[in-house]
Structure formats: C-alpha cells, structure tokens
Amino acid sequence: MRCAVLVLLVACGAGAPAADRTGAVADRRRAPALGMNDVSVLLPLPREPGAPVLARLDETLIDRRWYDALVGARGDIGPRTGAAIAFEDFQVVAVRFDLCDRAAIGACPQDAAGRLRLVLQPLYVRDGATFAHDVALHAFYPIPVDEVGAVVEGLRRLAGRGGAAAGAPLGVSPAAAAGDAAYLGALRALVGRHARAAELVRLTVIGQVASAAAFAWIFRGLDREGDGFVAMMIPGVAAAQQTVQLAGGDTVYRSEPIADVPAGFALATNGPRFAAAPPDQRAAAVAALAELQNPTLHDTVDTQCIGCHLAGFLTARRAATSGIDPASLPGWFATRAAAVPTIARQDARVVRAFGWAGNTPAISQRVVNDTAEVLSEIAARFGP
C-alpha cells in the first residue's frame, strides 16, 4: 500500500567489527553506484513453483495467525477462477528497501529505522508456465537504525550484477533473471536477517474478490500492536477496508469507500463523469493523479490504498483522453528514472504496483518514483 520503495541490502550487521566496517567502506569505493534494480528487486517467476526463486511463505516470515486474520479465515479473497489459495502457495516475488517507514512526507530522518518490504503472491502452473494469482501480500519489517548503513553497503556490493547499468530502467532483476546464485544467496540472507515473523509490523493484502463476477479487489491490512495486531486504518476514508469493482465505460472503478483526496481523484476514477466534466475539473483530476505518484507530496501516511494502486493506469488513460500532459503539471515528480514498459499502465485490470499480473511483470510509475527517491536519499546520506 505504500506505494513506496525499498532498497536492498545484503549481509553485514551493525555489530560488525570495526575492521570489517573499514573493509566495507573500501569496498564501497570499488562498488558500482546503486541503480533502480538494486533497491527494488522484482524477481522472475520460477519455472516450477516447487523451486522458489527466493523463498516461499512460511511461519518464519509471517505468523499464520496474521495471515488467517487478514486472508485465510475471511474467505472473501481469492482468484476469480475459483482456485483455492493456501498460505503455502505464496512466494516472495519482490523485495524492496527503504530508509524509513515514511510516517511523514519528506526525506527519512537519520535516526529512523529502515524498512524491508516483501511482496508475496500465490503461484500456480497453467499450460506448463508459472503464473501468479491476482492476490498479493505486502509484509513490512523494520531494519534497525544502526544496521541501515550496513544494508546499503551490502546493496552496493551486489549492484550491477546481471549486467544492469546504474541508469537501467526498473524491471525484472537482471541478476535474478540470470539465475545468479551468489546474488540470490546474498539477497536471501538479507531477507532472512530482517524478515522475521516476530518483527513483522504491517501486513497488507490486495486481492480479487472471490465471489465477484467482475474484476474486483479488496484492500486491507493489519498493524502490529504489542504482541498482537489490529486492523490498519486506511488514511482518508476512516475505514479498515476498501473495495474496487472495475466496470466498463472507459474505465469506471466503483470504489467503496473513496475519498476525493487529492481533490479530483474521485472524478478521475469514473470515465463517463470525467468525459462530461468541464476542462478545469478534468485538469484537476489529472493533477490529482500526478500528485498521487509524487513521493515528495504524498505517501502511505496520507493516501488511501486505491490512490496509489489506481493512479498508474488512470494517469495514462485520462491524459490520453483529455490531452493533458501530466508531466507539465506542477505536482508531477520529475525524474529521469523509468521502468521497462509493463502492463501496469496499459490494462485497467492491473492494480499491482510491483509484482506479477499473470505471468507479466507489472511496475507502476509510483514505484519508479519511490525507488528514485530512495536512491536519492541514499546518495545524500551515504554518498554516491
């Protein structure tokens, strides 16, 4: 739900001996600069679900009680195919690092814990190929503040593997796609170090409504409270769940509840209303979409789930039909960073921001922007 980003790290703990830390600094001088694919890592789908690329879901990552409370026992989330999904069907499909939990807009405080996010989707085989169901868990774990630097150093040691230049667009991890065992081993070690069920602070889900005849999704989450968890309240709507149903008519996302934040967003979700609106209201709607993708203006702390997850496709669609160039708007996040072309901006049925739509990668502009922002903050704090 945070449409945020991550970074990755590898190895080296905060308690490393001084000599080791010195070595790390020396290594950094030789390491390539971090690129998009080094801090936001989209893994390829495995050839066989029985052989996960990084890890399958187990109780070392997420306590089953959290999963049951969020998905399993609720019974309302599942693929429209009717296929049953189980805890064990989920696998890690993406890893993201961030310098903090983005509890406030703006650069992360230097004394904040970092954050590791795992994206997990249930996988299945169809006609001999591996697909991901349209359900995803996002699991969030803190990275102790005194280990964030080591994580960055670890990421730098891995940077550039697979032949991706630092300026390469965000896509499926080249190193992972190449089956680089050393890379995957280091990434697995990193995940294993920080992604522990006992440390899980937030678990969210976006998944298809099991009983819906149309494409529809549920968005909700849990936050840690003491040794237990409570429903995550969604900013702006004072509710613990949002649902969206896709209808025809140049894309109508029937959302419940929905907040018109930023102003114009609700209009942007309704094609017929958008088409009938006067030019100034259409411009405001496109501006709202642009702002939703700007991590310097909005983040999970102030943004409803559907804001980030619908903005990618809607920006492209509403811009095309209105002739408004979102890049010309003041709220647009100016970056040269980009993602490889994906289905996320082409198909209204795709609400995944960083994961897999069937067997096609989906990467939203919001995740690109978040990743660029994280890279910028890493460079500012830890040097280029």
Binding site: D134, A247, G248, D250, P272, R349
Partner: protein, 305 residues
C-alpha cells in the same frame, strides 16, 4: 482498457447425448460442413470485453455487447469485428447484457446498471434510446425473444453483500417506453433466459440451476442442476447451452446435462448459427493481462430434436 478481444476457431464438437444428471464429456464427431474461412487464433487488436451474443440468421451477422467499448458490435465472415453503435456510458459504469434483434431490426440490449441505473437500450439505425418506465434497481442480464416476438428479461435485485432476488418478466414496448410484467419470481441471481413457444428457461447463478417456466400459466419447475451457469443459448433441437465456468454445458429438454466442450477460462455469451453449424462463444479472461476471446466451435445440430 483495453484488453484485447481475440477471435479463434475451436475444433469440432458434437451433438449431445446421454442420460444422467451429471455433466459428462461428449464424444467427438465430425462437423457436417467445412470450417468457415476464419483464420485460427488470429487476434483482433480491438478493445474487448464482449459479453452477450445474438446471431442474426437473415444477415449472417453476429451481434455482441461490449462493455469496455460501451458498444454494440457486429462480426461477420466478410466484415470481421467492428463497432455497430456506440452506447452511452453511464456514471454507474457500463455492463451490457443480453441482446435480441426484433423483427423491425431494432436491437434491444440489457444494461446492468449496478443497482441504480439498470434499463434497456433500443438501437435502431444507429440511434440509441434508453427506454423509460423500467425499474433502475433491477440488474438485467439476459434477454430473450420467442418466435412470436414476445420479449423476456431476466434480472435480480440486491447483490454486493445483499442476497439477490431474481425474476423473469415479459417486456412490452411502446415507442420509447417499456413496461415489465413479472411472470416468475423467487429466483436468486437470475442471469440467462431463452424462450420457446411452450416454455421460458432461466439460469440462476446462485443455485447453479436452470428453471423452466411453463407457457402459458408460468408454472416454475427446476429443469437441471448444472456445474455453472451464465447466459443461455437455445439450439434447434431444443437443447440449452450455458457456461459460467470453464466448460459449456448442454441440457436436454428432459434435464440431462452433458459437457459439450471444456478448456475455456469462463464461458459467457453463446449464439448458434444453424446454417453455418457453428457455435459462437465469448471466452472471458479471468486472468489479468490475458485477452477475452470470441471463439467459434463447429457444431452440427439436427433441427426439431
């Protein structure tokens, strides 16, 4: 939005057969006529989202409702697929249902309306009229027309957390106004409907059942339990076809259920071309990123059953 509608020809299939209430596969049999000249698995790069089908024998034209394009579309061997008439997009969202083509050439189209804007659209010579006088809370999916021109609608109210309550009505049209006279109720999610001189058949997605409504008198009885149901099609021999899942079920007038063909994602609209001995199928994609498909299955059916 723009997911693609692909068109493809499926292999041959056969007439039905067999007793028994449980669905079972039919044995293959060669079609009586050669396949029409449509390239197999040739995708058509057009917006997709087709739902219901209607085959117009007089013009050898297939009519489709397409919610994403918000249009009535047509397909023919010679002309391919194209938009016949664009339909108004309602703010509640577009979800177009069944089609019937009346004797005067007017096409009637069910508009689902999501519980607030349900209705019927009349399309004649490119002009679209939203018929007045209908309950907008009714979520209409199926439409049927019998040989005498009587029109039937299948609908339900509720849904989205409320139990659906479904019914079937006779639709009377005078100019731009329409009235519905309910002939049967007590269904749940009533979606498909077809009509014969002696009965109206309705499919219920909640109950996974097909019901027979006798004409006259409108006495209701359950014809068959089916693994899944969706829109209905009537074959010349009196058998019914329906989808709703990965297979097409064939139901005889005695309620015997067989599986005509499987391997689809989700079968929605069905229409039969008796002269060409082919069945048109909307294969709806349940998988994000994959296109819907219009498929053509060669199917020989002896008229009269």
């Amino acid at each position: 939005m723009r997911w693609l509608l692909a068109i493809a020809i499926c292999g041959c299939a056969t007439p039905p057969s067999g007793p028994g209430g449980a669905a079972r596969p039919e044995a293959p049999r060669a079609a009586a006529q050669p396949a029409p000249a449509v390239p197999a698995d040739a995708p058509i790069a057009r917006p997709g989202g087709a739902n219901a089908l209607w085959w117009d024998a007089a013009s050898s034209t297939l009519y489709l409702t397409d919610s994403n394009a918000s249009a009535l579309m047509t397909w023919s061997d010679a002309g391919g697929l194209h938009v016949e008439t664009e339909l108004p997009a309602e703010p509640a969202g577009v979800s177009l249902g069944g089609i019937v083509r009346r004797g005067d050439g007017t096409a009637l189209i069910a508009s689902f309306g999501f519980g607030t804007q349900g209705g019927l659209l009349a399309v004649a010579r490119g002009e679209v009229t939203a018929l007045t006088g209908l309950d907008p809370a009714r979520r209409r999916v199926g439409l049927a027309q019998d040989a005498a021109g009587t029109i039937y609608s299948a609908y339900f109210v509720g849904g989205r957390g409320k139990p659906p309550a479904g019914g079937v009505a006779v639709v009377s049209i005078a100019g731009a106004a329409a009235t519905e006279t309910e002939i049967a109720s007590g269904f749940h999610k009533a979606v498909g409907v077809v009509a014969t001189p002696a009965a109206v058949f309705v499919s219920d997605q909640t109950d996974h059942a097909i019901f027979r409504i006798a004409v006259p008198g409108y006495a209701v009885s359950q014809l068959a339990s089916v693994p899944a149901v969706d829109l209905l099609a009537l074959l010349p021999d009196g058998d019914l076809l329906t989808g709703g899942g990965p297979a097409i079920s064939r139901i005889t007038p005695r309620g015997e259920v067989t599986t005509l063909r499987g391997g689809f994602e989700q079968v929605r609209g069905l229409a039969y071309d008796a002269a060409g001995q082919r069945l048109f199928i909307v294969d709806h994609s349940l998988t994000v990123g994959l296109p819907d498909k219009l498929r053509i299955l060669h199917l020989a059916v002896r008229a009269g059953g």
